[in-house]
């Protein structure tokens, strides 16, 4: 059933005949749709499978739902992008996707599960060896377990086992919205505070039918693009650090902080905490602050352009980045990759373009085709330019008016999908309300949920020393995936 991506819809309007459900969603996926979310909704002792499908080129969203009990036919063999969704449904609710190639745990949160203890894909042979890393690994970084099947330096396969960061955020939204809800959203992935916070607000606003004032939309846009600027700049620095090109690494380390400090200038917190609330924003800008932000943006952007340009002109850097960790377009589309990782493989997918929201209009996305580390780095640079232009434009054209609208109660027995383009890619929050107008089910899909498998693919046939570089070029979130 076609739904409007900015409005709520009745749960009953997306129900279809259970006998037709799997065939219908299959045909929609085959027709060019992409699964934005696929989950089981507890419903009076049984479950209801719900799939939200996006047609990116057309900017059309559809949703389907049908009851299921015990087991259902796995679609992963035909649509690999669903592999983690189906494993998640099995782990969370025990509904078994029959025919799924490998139903491993993903968060190890069921009784008796021991984190990291599962069947791993192994390669056998006299000179084949396995390298195991983590959960505590070198560097100040989140925990995860990685297993490489190697022959000498060559990597046959990398398997990534996560779940260490599972802290029960998703179910904590149930019964809300409450005073903690926005904090849960802001800390789904700390470096994506605005991206996730906005997706949460968007879902709540659709459910309550509130129209966010234009000024608040632009302020949100400024915050989201500053978040992207900080993270992309930091990533380019980290990538150059991993190829031992230290000038850009050191410059970008400082510049990332300068972007974060601009965020802190607006709301007091470097990560954008406390800025958003359903209905609008908490902090406004006065002319003096706008002037200060414009000065800082200009100077920081100039220094960033200077620091980043060194990368593309240095043969030893471009040689190391090119043809390393290639994910081709077929793999990227098959796995349902999102964000810069997808755009670097030539996939034209950017929520700001496909499903415009807030202040985004006629957005032109940045795509590069080679699917290697170079491409993932270069797409970031293109996006830095775009984001700086957007922020500068919005600071100039901030319309007068209120920064929040009254956020009323949620519509009962309804559902809404909040979509934003975080710096890692598309963020999807699906909220369902009960008869009391409180949140009855909440589903979060962080871009990393899709993209971790992309990192594993990038390593195939590469060398184990490519791993840090490939990892930085994806820079995925562990906590956003583990929830």
């Amino acid at each position: 059933m076609k739904i409007d991506h900015l409005s709520s819809f009745d749960l009953s309007s997306i129900e279809i005949d259970p006998a037709l459900f799997l065939d219908t969603v299959s045909s929609r996926l085959a027709a060019g749709g992409r699964a934005l979310a696929y989950f089981a909704l507890p419903d009076n002792g049984i479950y209801r499978l719900v799939m939200v499908i996006g047609f990116d080129r057309e900017g059309v969203m559809e949703a389907y739902s049908a009851p299921a009990a015990g087991s259902f036919r796995a679609l992963t063999p035909h649509f690999p992008e669903l592999h983690l969704f189906e494993r998640e449904i099995y782990e969370q609710h025990g509904l078994k996707p029959e025919g799924h190639p490998w139903l491993k745990p993903i968060r190890f949160n069921t009784p008796g599960a021991v984190p990291g203890v599962a069947d791993y894909f192994t390669v056998h042979g006299s000179q084949v060896h396995e390298v195991a890393v983590g959960p505590v690994h070198a560097g100040v970084i989140e925990p995860g377990h990685f297993r490489f099947q190697c022959h000498g330096e060559k990597v046959f396969h990398l398997e990534i086992m996560l779940g260490y960061q599972h802290r029960g955020v998703e179910r904590s939204f149930i019964g809300g919205p409450g005073p903690r809800s926005i904090h849960y959203a802001e800390t789904l992935a700390g470096d994506t505070t605005i991206g996730h916070g906005w997706a949460y607000c968007a879902a709540m606003e659709a459910l309550s039918g509130v129209n966010v004032p234009r000024r608040a939309q632009l302020l949100r846009g400024i915050m989201l693009e500053l978040e992207r600027l900080a993270n992309h700049t930091g990533d380019l620095g980290a990538i150059s650090g991993d190829v031992a090109y230290l000038p850009t690494a050191s410059f970008c380390g400082r510049l990332r902080g300068d972007f974060l400090n601009m965020t802190a200038l607006i709301c007091g917190n470097r990560f954008g905490r406390n800025m958003l609330k359903p209905g609008g924003v908490n902090y406004d800008l006065d002319p003096a602050l706008i002037k200060e932000l414009k000065l800082r943006l200009e100077a920081t952007y100039r220094d960033t352009a200077d620091a980043v340009s060194l990368l593309w002109e240095n043969a030893s850097v471009t040689d190391r980045l090119g043809n390393t960790g290639v994910v081709d377009k077929v793999a990227a589309e098959g796995l349902g990759l999102v964000g810069p990782a997808a755009r670097a493989s030539g996939v034209g997918l950017d929520t700001r373009r496909n499903f415009p929201y807030g202040p985004y209009e006629n957005f032109t996305m940045s795509v590069s085709g080679s699917g290697d580390v170079y491409s993932r780095a270069y797409v970031r640079w293109l996006e830095i330019q775009k984001s700086a232009e957007l922020v500068a434009g919005w600071l100039d054209d901030l319309p007068a008016g209120p920064i929040e609208a009254e956020f009323g109660p949620l519509k009962p027995n309804a559902a809404a999908v909040g979509l934003t383009e975080g710096w890692r890619g598309q963020i999807c929050h699906a909220a369902v309300t009960g008869p009391d107008g409180l949140i009855r089910h909440y589903k979060i899909v962080d871009p990393s949920f899709h993209n971790w498998q992309g990192l594993a693919m990038a390593l195939r046939g590469g060398e184990i020393s490519d791993f840090p570089l490939c990892n930085k070029s994806f820079n995925l979130s562990y906590c956003g995936r583990d929830l």
Partner: protein
Amino acid sequence: MFKAILARLRQGYRTRPFPSEDVKMPHRYLGLPRLKDAPLNRAAAACPYGAILTEERRLDLGRCVFCGACAKAAPEAVEFSREYKLCAGSRDALLVGRGDYKRAEPLARELTSIFGRSFRLRQVSAGGCAACEADCNVLGTLAFDMGRFGIQFVASPRHADGILVTGPVTKNMELALRKTYAAVSSPKVVIACGACAISGGPYAGHPECVGIPKDIPVDLYIPGCPPNPYTILDGLLRLIGRAK
């Protein structure tokens, strides 16, 4: 090569002096709170984490995520300053009242003589949102340059003088945290960085989170959600007796 040198000249020298009186937090930054004389009931009701203890007339910095909801609901009862030096040496010391906040003391003299000039930490990320980790990482950049004080994050617990824990310690990370702690040789220190590590933070009360086990004694508490990098740096320097 020539271009890189020119860029270096343009980018300039960016390491900021520290400890220094010049560190100014942005205008809207929420730092050390102070309780005023008015009743605390409204402020306490506004706090989603029970950080305001009305009976004792205290605000628990360990539970506070610095969202400012209390000061917004009851400006007559709570106000936030821009003071970023927030670390404490004991859990009880995190309970603030009217401006008598007691910051962490340096370690015992024999420990500061060991760690004072070379202090290596293994960071253990255990279930948070990775914002604390980001603000620890940033201490290695040239703006903060923690290395100038002899402080460094290292890859192996065998090379470390202690651990710095972030996150509410999920069930799934408890064993890894214990093993990492056990792998650090004594004498060793433990630092709880951020509201999560101290009290569970936004995830306080979640059955998926267990917190830092009681048998791993914490030497330094750095509140915040996440703490500002300067708050962390100040805490580390205080602990090893390099800042007052």
